[in-house]
Structures are given as structure tokens and as C-alpha cells.
């Protein structure tokens, strides 16, 4: 007899604790009530308890509060006290609840004999940890760790300590979120820190990439954008967006400037030149522009960018004459072969205006930020794997088989690794190729903390605590280990590691860490009080300054060339614009039905990949909505339906990332195409960062057509609402 949802709801209102049985009578009249054996201290039946923790869906480190009713997490909201997102949260963050209750989560550790076969056999936790310990011990310096950017700070530290103690190579922290938001290029262009700006009181913003729907900190910027647009009468902020395909930021911009792909930074340079030559914005700004602006011919640059010189002059003037202008780098330009230079070219506009990115906070001793590795570092590890130097590979919070271009060779390199261990809670593409999976608790059930990646002038340590008891505690597989405890347990058997990882469990580690923190915004005289407040308020941060400090950037003039394309123009006539869609992000949203089924704001598309194409280009090629297109780059090809998109350059097609999973649960599996298959493993000019945004493609019709799963009514698309 199945339990209907309504019965579940009714009974959980009544304060039932665990399983619910419904009588088999025709009218289901008898419901059994199961009270707690031992109730949680704070729980009142029928009233919610809210726990503060940290979002694990993106690396941003947004503070969240989770509504828990009768032991079940039922809603995630932003933590109002959290200084990064101030009570607000994006679609991805709210949908994280479905990760906790995902039907395809592993109940306990599994092993498979042949990687890739997906024939997993369950294993007792103790046995799994013992096997892992054995392997790690045997591997010695041949241990390698690959982790994603959502990894908790305490694990980052434990991974690093472990690697150091066993002489293993330093762990790599790299995932698709980092890749497609060019964390590496942005940081190396901005002195090692991700540039974050305060736009609350800006009157003009020039942005070179989407910062409201994706980017390193969409919620932070969302809150800021509200203030930016809501300033007193006459001071409403003006936003100009320079991008070849209109993102949601482009949609809300006052002006969308469709610069030719790879030329965005040239436009920035030309505007700096114009400010210098025309003396816009007063002597001081003009003088700074004179020092920093590249020597370029404005008319020639305008032509190369496919813009009118006059328009550039107007924009340059507006920027120079604005009281508080800000230029936000990022987006596709940062992911081109000259991403670092392109980012610097944008920063020069800021330097002319006299604004710098917000200063990074001082990180207290004992706290470990999750610093992203560069693509080159990731590749170096893959090379080690290929050379057979890696015996045991631990993959945590990342999914490199899905996330890396084929050319990076990660999948092939896995064959050379004796033991591959994944910690994914769901069998994802990498876990499918692992020998063993020790499923980590989801972030809603686990301990940890994250140092937020945004530099907001102060350090924000966002705490993570279990809001519910671990959902899967199967008798057959024994009490579940968190990955932190797995590491600490293994370390006990390795003489070199035991000194470096002496803690009994991860909570002891975290308590010690928090106890040693200086007094923050919430004070606390003794370590226990500090620990309690750290959990209660959702983290540790210093009291807020009235005005966050900006950092000064040392800049030299940069003369950027247009990004070099991967692929010849005659063979691959179109630019490929890859972006992370609002709902699925870099693909970690793909396993959650709320995100798969909620319409993409620009296209209202659900459940699919699609290719955005300009109406004129589509018309010329005879392409209509829903026609399945074959998109081919020098590196591979994918198929996806066309979506005729009015706000994209005619020489560009755009494809969102996130779909095309072969595993990762029933909602993601075999759905759409993975745009990463079109990318190469080429690095940029510095040799450090992945060049992902300068690939060219050709598009062909396959002859097939489907009905698009869109929410909008395209038949009525000609009727406009006018405000």
C-alpha cells in the first residue's frame, strides 16, 4: 500500500517523526502517529525551526536558512543576517533541497569491478573506509585529490594537509563553475583576488559579462542592483552591457551593445582612448586616461568591434562624466585567449574613474579559503595521471569527466589510475568511472564552512551545519562517514599523516578553528559561546564598516588584440557563445527537477539544450524554431534544437551549458547536449587559463524538427505589452 502525499503532509503536521503507515481501509481513515523517540531540543510539533548554514550549490558561499519541520527540511531561504546575500537567494540555491531528497542518491558506499560499467555493489561503510585507507597507504606520494569549488574550507585544509604529509601533489580545486566564470583569468588579472565591486551608489555601470544571472556572485550583485536602480529620483543607475548575446543582465540593461565576440576589451580600450583624447570627465580623469589608455585608432577599433565610433564616443563620455561609474569585467572576454589582458583593459576604465575592486578581507589564521587552481594546474595533474604517477585519485565535489573538454584527456587518464574514488552523493559521470564511491552527505546534512569568494572588504566565513540528520543511515551499510571523518580515520593509519591530521573528528577540528577566531560581529567571550553564535548566525564576520574599503590596482596600459579564434573562419563561420544558464548553472542544477522544469527566463525553455540563433541568420539558413541543428567545432559536434533569438549577433550562436549528462540521476540523464564537447583544452596566452570563449563553429540542419518545450506562446509573440 502506497502512502499518498497528502497523508504524509497531514501526518507530519501532527508531529510524526519518522515513517508513516496508512491503514488499508477504503477511505484511509486511520493514520498512525509516530512521535519522536527523542525530540530535537528546539522542536515544537507544527512549528518550524530554522537553521543557518551555507549554500552548496554554487561556490559563492551564500548564507542560507533552512526551514525544518518535524525533522524534515522543507524550504531554503537566504540568511537575512548574512553580509553577502542579505536574505536573498537565487534559483539554484533554493533548489538545493531537492539534492537532499534526490531519489537517485546513494544509500551507502558502492564498488564496481569495471569502471564505466555502472554495476555497483553496496559495501559496508567500515569496509569501504578500510579499503580506501589501504589504497591511500599503498599509493603514498601517488595520491591525488581533485575537488570542486563548493568544497568546505575544512576539507580543503584536510586535503592539503593530507597531500603534504604523504608527499602527494597539491590537491587541484577546479570545476566547470570556475572554468566558465574564468576564476583563473579574473584572479590573475586582479592580483590574485576575484574582482568584486560595490555598485549600490554607482550611477553608471558598464558590464562585459552577465553578473545577475550567472557569474561568481549573482545574488550579491542582485541585491546591489536593486539599490543601484532604486536610488533617489534622478540618480537611477544606468547600465550598459557589452556582449554578443543578450544575457538577463543585457535584458535589464539600459543599453545592450552587441560587440563582436572577442572584441569587447577593444571597445573598452577605445573608450579609454576617447576619454584621454577628448578630455572627458575633467582634467584628473582625462589625465589618468592619458596614462593608461592604449594607443589605438578609435575609428578602426569601432569598425573591428562592429560598432559605430559615434556610439563609442557617447558611451565613453557618459562613463567619464558619471559621478560614480563602475566597469565590471568577466563574462566571455575573460575566457578568451587574451582573457587576462581583456580583464585588465576593462579595469583600466575603473582606474580612470578612480574606483578599484573591493578589498579582500584579512583571513584569520586557521581559516582556509577554497582557492581555485588554474587550468594549467589541473592539466598538470591529468598529465601525472597519464604518466601513471597517480595510483589513487580522490574526486570530491567535482565532476571532471563531464566538466572538462574531451581534449583535456581526463577520461582517458582515468584508465591509468589504479583506484579512482568518488565522493559524489549521486552517481555522476565521474563516479560512473570510479572503482568506489563513498557518498558524501549533501551540504544540508554536513559540517563545514566556506570563505565567500567575493571580496567585499571584509572576510566572511559562512558556517555549514547539518540542518537534518543524515537522510540515509541504512543498517546494511552502517553509520555513514562524512568525508572529513573518512580522511581523519585514514590518517590514523598513516604515520606521516597522523601528526598533520590529529583531530578525532571533523567537528573537533571545526570547534577548535572557530574557538580561535578573533571576536567578530557577534562577539562571544569563550570558545563555546563563539561556536554557538557562529552556528546560530550562520558564520563569522567582522562588524560592518560604513564604507567597504576598495583596493588600489596597479595598472599599466594594455593594448589588447582581438581574441584569436579556435577554428578557421571559412570552415567555421559562426562564433560560439557558451554561457551558464540561470537555472542549471554549470550543470549541477541539471539533476534537480525544479531547475530542469522552471523556464529559462530568456527563452522560457525547460528540460532541454538549445541553440540560440539570430532571426536573420536563421532565415538565411532556412532554420526555424525546433529544427535540430548539428553544431560542429574543431573539437567535436553536438545536436540541439534551434531557438530563434532576436538578441544575438548574426555571426554568433549561443548554447547554454549544463545539459548532456550521461549520469547524475534520472532528471539529468540523457537529456540535451553538453556544450563542453565543442571546446578544446587550449590555454590562453599566459598558458595558465582555459580559453573557452573563442571557439568557432559551423551549423547544419539535420532535417529533424521537434516541438520545443517552451512556456511562452510563440504564436502570440508579435503582441507586445507596452508600459
Amino acid at each position: 500500500m502506497k502512502i499518498s502525499r497528502r497523508d504524509f503532509i497531514k501526518v507530519s503536521i501532527a508531529g510524526a517523526a519518522s515513517t508513516v503507515l496508512v491503514g488499508c481501509q477504503p477511505n484511509q481513515r486511520y493514520v498512525e502517529l509516530e512521535p519522536y523517540v527523542v525530540p530535537p531540543e528546539e522542536a515544537v510539533a507544527g512549528q518550524a525551526t530554522w537553521y543557518a548554514t551555507t549554500c552548496g550549490m554554487t561556490p559563492a558561499g551564500n548564507g542560507i536558512i533552512v526551514r525544518v519541520m518535524n525533522g524534515r527540511a522543507v524550504k531554503i531561504e537566504g540568511n537575512p543576517e548574512h553580509p553577502l546575500n542579505r536574505g536573498k537567494l537565487d534559483a539554484l540555491g533554493q533548489a538545493g533541497l531537492q539534492l537532499l531528497y534526490h531519489p537517485d542518491r546513494l544509500h551507502g558506499p558502492v564498488v564496481q569491478e569495471t569502471p564505466g560499467r555502472r554495476e555497483f555493489k553496496p559495501l559496508h561503510w567500515n569496509e569501504a573506509v578500510n579499503i580506501l585507507a589501504e589504497n591511500v597507504k599503498r599509493a603514498g606520494a601517488g595520491l591525488a585529490i581533485w575537488a570542486g569549488l563548493t568544497t568546505s574550507g575544512h576539507l580543503v585544509d584536510l586535503f592539503k594537509r593530507f597531500a603534504k604529509a604523504t608527499d602527494a601533489p597539491a590537491p587541484v580545486f577546479y570545476d566547470l563553475y570556475a572554468a566558465l566564470h574564468s576564476y583563473d583569468a579574473l584572479a590573475s588579472a586582479c592580483g590574485g583576488a576575484l574582482p568584486t565591486y560595490d555598485i549600490r551608489r554607482a550611477d553608471l555601470v558598464f558590464a562585459f559579462g552577465d553578473f545577475l544571472g550567472s557569474g561568481p556572485n549573482p545574488v550579491y550583485y542582485g541585491v546591489q542592483f536593486g539599490a543601484f536602480r532604486g536610488q533617489a529620483l534622478g540618480k537611477r543607475g544606468y547600465l550598459a552591457q557589452f556582449e554578443p548575446r543578450m544575457s538577463i543582465t543585457g535584458a535589464v540593461a539600459d543599453r545592450w551593445v552587441p560587440v563582436k565576440p572577442g572584441h569587447e576589451a577593444l571597445a573598452a580600450g577605445a573608450m579609454a582612448r576617447i576619454i584621454a583624447e577628448e578630455g572627458f570627465g575633467g582634467a584628473e580623469r582625462a589625465a589618468r586616461a592619458g596614462e593608461l589608455a592604449p594607443e589605438v585608432d578609435v575609428a578602426a577599433v569601432a569598425e573591428a568591434c562592429d560598432l559605430e565610433a559615434e556610439a563609442l564616443v557617447k558611451l565613453a563620455r557618459a562613463f567619464a562624466e558619471a559621478a560614480n561609474p563602475v566597469a565590471i569585467p568577466g563574462g566571455a572576454p575573460a575566457g578568451a585567449d587574451n582573457g587576462v589582458e581583456a580583464t585588465k583593459a576593462v579595469q583600466i576604465l575603473n582606474a580612470i574613474a578612480g574606483v578599484g575592486p573591493l578589498a579582500p578581507g584579512v583571513i584569520p589564521p586557521g581559516i582556509t579559503p577554497t582557492t581555485p587552481s588554474t587550468f594549467a594546474e589541473a592539466q598538470a595533474l591529468i598529465e601525472k595521471m597519464q604518466n601513471g604517477e597517480v595510483q589513487t585519485l580522490l574526486v570530491y565535489g567535482a565532476n571532471p569527466v563531464y566538466e572538462l573538454p574531451e581534449a583535456a584527456g581526463f577520461r582517458q587518464a582515468l584508465n591509468k589510475v589504479e583506484t579512482v574514488v568518488s565522493f559524489s552523493p549521486i552517481i555522476d559521470e565521474t563516479a560512473a568511472w570510479a572503482h568506489m564511491v563513498l557518498p558524501e552527505r549533501t551540504y544540508l546534512e554536513g559540517w563545514g564552512y566556506r570563505v565567500v569568494t567575493a571580496n567585499t572588504g571584509r572576510t566572511i566565513i559562512s558556517s555549514r551545519q547539518p540542518v537534518v540528520v543524515p537522510f540515509y543511515q541504512d543498517e546494511a551499510t552502517g553509520p555513514a562517514y562524512s568525508t572529513g571523518d573518512v580522511l581523519l580515520t585514514i590518517a590514523r593509519g598513516i604515520p606521516d599523516a597522523i601528526a598533520a591530521l590529529p583531530w578525532t573528528d571533523e567537528v573537533a577540528y571545526l570547534k577548535q578553528m572557530v574557538g580561535a577566531l578573533p571576536a567578530g560581529a557577534y562577539g562571544g567571550s569563550d570558545p563555546d559561546t563563539r561556536w554557538a553564535r557562529y552556528l546560530q548566525h550562520g558564520g563569522w564576520w567582522p562588524a560592518e564598516d560604513a564604507e567597504p574599503a576598495a583596493s588600489i590596482m596597479e595598472l599599466a596600459p594594455v593594448k589588447v588584440k582581438a581574441a584569436a579564434s579556435q577554428g578557421e573562419a571559412n570552415e567555421y563561420p559562426l562564433y560560439l557563445h557558451v554561457y551558464t544558464p540561470v537555472m542549471l548553472g554549470d550543470g549541477r542544477g541539471a539533476s534537480l527537477p525544479w531547475l530542469q522544469g522552471s523556464p529559462d527566463p530568456m527563452t522560457t525553455m525547460t528540460w532541454r539544450s538549445w541553440v540560440e540563433i539570430n532571426p536573420q541568420t536563421a532565415h538565411n539558413m532556412g532554420i526555424k524554431d525546433g529544427d535540430i541543428l548539428k553544431v560542429t567545432s574543431p573539437y567535436g559536434s553536438i545536436e540541439a534544437p534551434a531557438y530563434v533569438y532576436p538578441a544575438i549577433r548574426p555571426d554568433t550562436v549561443a548554447i547554454p551549458a549544463g545539459q548532456g549528462h550521461l549520469d547524475s540521476g534520472r532528471y539529468a540523464k540523457n537529456r540535451g547536449a553538453n556544450v563542453i564537447d565543442l571546446l578544446g583544452a587550449t590555454t590562453d596566452a599566459t598558458g595558465e587559463n582555459l580559453a573557452w570563449s573563442n571557439v568557432r563553429v559551423k551549423v547544419e540542419r539535420t532535417g529533424e524538427t521537434i516541438n520545443l518545450p517552451i512556456f511562452e506562446d510563440k504564436k502570440g509573440a508579435q503582441e507586445h505589452l507596452h508600459f
Binding site: R6, D7, I9, K10, I13, A14, G15, A16, A17, S18, L21, Q25, P26, N27, R29, Y30, V31, E32, L33, E34, P35, Y36, V37, V38, P39, V44, A45, G46, Q47
Partner: protein, 174 residues
């Protein structure tokens, strides 16, 4: 009509009767209330009259939550660790406690699933538990004092000053 035919008709008639009417009879029998609890000896009367325990001691949500709540096994054991700890029903309770198992109580008051009823608002408006639940202190095994259907709600509310407001559908149905 020959005799065997008549027998056949009777047999078929009985089968039809059994097949079509049987489930109805079964349904009626099956839905006859039976409020037997997993610990059959549990008596509200003893707790209220002999021990003098207030309703709110066990159903503590009633003043602060929409749900009055059922006490946890831990709460039962809070007293019964020492009180009557040797008696058979208490041994049964102790077994639940030692096995870490929740007790599956049979629900006595069951509202339809599309109704939201707040205990705390009614209690804070001055209603006694007995008003709706009857004199539980007199009952060994609790049975419903009334069937909590909408007519019963309305009968109470219609006399009130803000009756129209209180009888609005959206008050309880969402």
C-alpha cells in the same frame, strides 16, 4: 423453468450479491471506528484523574503551535523510568524506549487533508481542551467527542460577532 435452472439462477444471484454488495458491507465494517492503541492499557483517565497531569504537560504544542503534539517516548520515560516501572504496560513502553522505536499511536481526531486548524489560536481565545475533545479525563480509551467536520466548526462560529470572517472558506482551506 426446470429445477436445475432455478438453482443456477439462485447461485448466480448469490454470487452477484456477494461480488457487488460484499465490498460495501466490508467497507462499512472496516470503517467502524476502533480506537485501540498500541499500548492498550494506556488510559487518559489514570493520567488525568489519578496523577493529576495537565493536558498541556504532554500535548504542549496546543498553546504555541497549530498542532498540539503527541509526547515523545522520552517524555513518557521521564516519569515512567521510576513510576510503575515494573508493570506490564510500562515494560512495553520501556521496550520501545530501549529499541529506540517510536510508538505508532492510532489517530483519534483526523481532519481532512485540505483543512488547516490552529490549536494555539483557539486555546488563546479561551477555549478549553474539553470544549472540543470532551472530558478526556473520564475516558480510558479516548474516542472522538464529536466528528470534527465543517458543520461542527460552523455551529460554533456562527454565533460570533465576526462570524462572516471566521466562516470564510479561505480561513481554513488552502
Amino acid at each position: 423453468m426446470s429445477r436445475p435452472t432455478r438453482v443456477w439462477i439462485t447461485v448466480i444471484g448469490l454470487v452477484v450479491l456477494l461480488v457487488f454488495i460484499g465490498p460495501f458491507i466490508f467497507g462499512v465494517l472496516a470503517s467502524v471506528p476502533n480506537y485501540e492503541q498500541p499500548i492498550v492499557e494506556f488510559s487518559h483517565k489514570r493520567h488525568v484523574q489519578n496523577a493529576g497531569i495537565d493536558c498541556l504537560y504532554c500535548h504542549s504544542g496546543a498553546t504555541r503551535s497549530p498542532v498540539s503534539g503527541i509526547p515523545s517516548v522520552e517524555k513518557c520515560m521521564g516519569c515512567h523510568e521510576h513510576v510503575l516501572s515494573g508493570e506490564a504496560p510500562i515494560v512495553k513502553l520501556q521496550e520501545y524506549w530501549e529499541n529506540g522505536e517510536p510508538i505508532s499511536w492510532t489517530r483519534v481526531y483526523q481532519l481532512p487533508r485540505y483543512v488547516h486548524y490552529p490549536h494555539h489560536v483557539h486555546v488563546s481565545a479561551g477555549l478549553n481542551c474539553e470544549t472540543c475533545h470532551g472530558n478526556v479525563g473520564e475516558m480510558d480509551i479516548v474516542t472522538p467527542a464529536q466528528i470534527p467536520n465543517m458543520g461542527w466548526c460552523i455551529r460554533c462560529h456562527q454565533g460570533e460577532e465576526n462570524a462572516v470572517e471566521l466562516m470564510d472558506c479561505l480561513n481554513c482551506h488552502y
